[in-house]
């Protein structure tokens, strides 16, 4: 994950940068298991790492303990967010009509359908073994080839190819079953 820089900069090897790069994808995966809205997920992710910023002794923990600490905070924040869901503000469609339709892909129907597909896919992804999830992430999120993934994970390249193809076949079968082969 390459972190973009804001105009004010924090060194990428600063503790918060290292902590974020190492743990943010995992925390986001956890959050997104429970929250479908990307905006809400981002808010929660920020809250978790803001808590990390304000926690003085986090660096004294080892990597496993840091991740456990962050997951615990994410859990607390998730519960709070559910409990506060009744106060969740909603912007009426009328207020945003003028800006919504410039891009057809951004119409409410398309956005909703796409989000539903994402939710379905994500729910199946989280049930794959962890190694398969990691291979998929490295292939699609980071854009690595099988050779590079194998080197990174210290695995046999053939095994990575097999894992990747099996994972994709599994997801494809799930899609077929879910959509009743309604491929157009």
């Amino acid at each position: 994950m390459q972190l973009k820089r804001s105009t004010k900069r924090i060194a990428q090897d600063a503790p918060i940068g290292v902590l974020y790069q190492r743990n943010a994808p995992s925390i986001l995966t956890y959050i997104r298991r429970h929250i479908s809205s990307p905006e809400d997920a981002e808010d929660l992710l920020v809250e978790v790492f803001l808590a990390a910023l304000e926690h003085n002794n986090l660096l004294c923990l080892n990597e496993g303990e840091q991740l456990a600490w962050l997951r615990r905070v994410a859990h607390n924040k998730l519960i709070d967010s559910y409990r506060r869901a009744k106060n969740r503000p909603v912007v009426t469609l009328d207020e945003v009509t003028d800006t919504l339709y410039e891009d057809e892909e951004q119409t409410p129907e398309r956005v909703a359908l796409r989000q539903e597909e994402h939710n379905l896919l994500r729910s199946h992804l989280t049930h794959l073994p962890e190694l398969q999830q990691e291979v998929l992430r490295l292939r699609f999120a980071v854009g690595l080839r099988c050779t590079e993934i194998a080197a990174l994970l210290n695995k046999n390249e053939g095994a990575v190819r097999m894992l990747l193809s099996r994972s994709l076949d599994l997801l494809r079968n799930i899609y077929d079953n879910h959509h009743g082969r309604e491929v157009r």
Binding site: A68, K86, F140
Partner: protein, 517 residues
């Protein structure tokens, strides 16, 4: 075409195959998987980048006010050390934290002594008068306050509605607003989440409305008059409330936590008439006050149940900790038994399935009486106990009924995507709110409480989320996210009427309802 649809991913050429499929239109399921995976990970990457940019800005602003490039609160090293010390003071009655508050300590001690004498006398008198009446189960999850019959002198009957812009008292049937205590959600240029916020549900006792709220200056406990909504007092607390205030014998009991993994938290006892803190107890874990009964506070941390003496905060028993990874989400006392729920909170592997459990405990010693079988998903609302059954909904979309004697499952019902609110039970029917996948056509479902058989469903073209339903006198009150309260007939789900708060100036949100009979 069929060959294309059946295209399998080949290990030998998988990289090239993915590249090719990502270039073509998603007309086959294989191409569709590749496109969707790419889109999903792009979305995650955008979230990670967006969050990092916001975080970086905050880190830079903190850095500018502190010498350390990671932790801005290094500059208040002394204060932090004090907080650390406070963590090790678990088990002791907390002291105020810094010298600036010293004058307040003296005045508070004096006030506390006076109040303690007055309150002690009051407690004695009230205990004598109400002996035996407090054995009634505390059904806080129903939000239907039952104290009206013993306090008919107070003008407090009706429906209370909490929205982002404050608290309303309305006529339950017509929705006509009687008063509105306004809290500006955009004070000081706040963002869309609002800088002022009403927290949790309301507690309405003896002509007063108690609730927690935040603004830019901190966390507060509010007390309003039920007659006209005027502010009686508000008391600043150190942290966010962790639950609804409980009021017994003129004393408010409430938990508050800093919301971080550090889990600094307190249980407060406050004078219901003035808001003065009678005592507080510090913990180094998040704690919620759930029930007050016979002079005992039943509270829960994430992994333990515990009791305190309601008069002075002295600790009582502590239950055994839950198995690793399980966290308590609710606790209630019904018929002399404590019932609790737990869900899985921390995951060391994303492939793990989440499980939740229900438990029964002996309230005298905290001994566990039974633990239910594991249920898939997680629970965020309190279970509902009616007759000899315990009902709860899970995020996995199922509603369950258990036998409260042994925790064995009686029936389950697949309601849809998720069931967040506590089920409501009345007249042999269980009413649940179900969240759909699209979040805008959720349903209210009525089930036979004995068998779990479907009785009727009513689609509400809106998001219900975790907002609580209410059932009272044949009417089901269903709040939805566009600021509308739907009134349905409990007999068949047909709509009686609805009233909307959507024209209020504040952002829309689902109303939280509290009904006082």
């Amino acid at each position: 075409m069929d060959t294309q649809n059946n295209e399998r991913f080949m290990p030998e050429t998988i990289d090239e195959q993915v590249d090719r499929l990502s270039q073509m239109r998603p007309i086959t399921s294989a191409a569709r998987v590749v496109h969707e995976l790419s889109a999903l990970y792009r979305q995650d990457a955008r979230i990670l980048e967006g969050a990092w940019q916001r975080l970086e800005e905050r880190a830079v602003s903190m850095e500018s006010s502190a010498t350390d490039n990671f932790y801005a609160n290094e500059k208040i090293d002394g204060q932090w050390s004090q907080q650390e010390r406070m963590r090790h003071m678990d088990g002791t009655i907390s002291q105020r934290r810094d010298n600036k508050r010293f004058p307040r300590i003296v005045s508070m001690i004096a006030a506390t002594l006076i109040i303690a004498i007055v309150v002690g006398s009051l407690i004695f008198i009230l205990n004598t008068v109400h002996q035996g009446k407090t054995t009634t189960a505390h059904h806080n999850q129903t939000h239907v306050a039952a104290q009206g019959s013993t306090h008919t002198a107070y003008d407090q009957a009706g429906l209370y509605v909490t929205l982002l812009d404050g608290v309303y008292r309305v006529d339950a049937k017509s929705g006509k607003i009687r008063w509105h205590y306004y809290m500006n959600p955009f004070q000081n240029g706040g963002n869309s989440s609002g800088t002022n916020r009403v927290e949790w549900d309301l507690t309405i006792v003896n002509g007063s409305v108690y609730f927690g709220g935040n603004d830019d200056n901190g966390h507060y406990l509010y007390a309003l008059k039920t007659t006209n909504g005027t502010l009686l007092w508000r008391k600043q607390l150190d942290y966010d409330l962790t639950g609804t205030p409980k009021v017994v014998n003129g004393i408010i009991y409430v938990g508050a936590s800093d919301g971080t993994a550090a889990d600094h938290s307190h249980i407060y006892a406050l004078d219901a008439h003035t808001g003065a803190i009678l005592w507080s107890h510090s913990f180094n874990f998040r704690v919620t006050v759930n029930v007050i009964d016979h002079g005992t506070i039943y509270a829960s941390s994430s992994t333990m149940l515990l009791t305190l003496n309601a008069s002075d905060g002295k600790p009582g028993w502590t239950s055994k900790a839950l198995p690793s990874g399980q966290y308590f989400s609710s606790l209630q006392l019904v018929g002399g038994v404590l019932y609790a729920s737990s869900s899985e909170g921390s995951h060391h592997s994303a492939t793990e399935t989440q499980y939740c459990y229900e438990y029964a405990y002996d309230p005298t010693m905290g001994k566990q009486l039974w633990q239910s079988e594991a249920v898939n998903g997680f629970v965020i609302s309190a279970p509902t106990i009616s007759g000899d059954s315990l009902y709860f909904g899970s995020q996995n979309g199922y509603v369950y009924a258990l036998n409260i004697k042994d925790g064995k499952q009686r029936w389950s019902y697949n309601a849809g995507v998720s069931v967040y609110p506590s089920p409501q039970v009345s007249g042999g029917i269980v009413y649940i709110g179900e969240t759909s996948r699209s979040f805008d056509n959720d349903s209210v479902i009525a089930l036979n409480a004995a068998t779990g058989k479907h009785v009727w469903s009513k689609t509400i073209m809106d998001y219900l989320g975790s907002t609580q339903l209410l059932v009272n006198n044949g009417i089901l009150y269903v709040p939805s996210d566009n600021g509308v309260v739907h009134l349905l007939k409990t007999s068949d789900g047909s709509q009686i009427q609805s009233y909307s708060f959507s024209k209020r100036p504040a952002p829309l949100s689902a109303p939280a309802l509290t009904l006082v009979q």
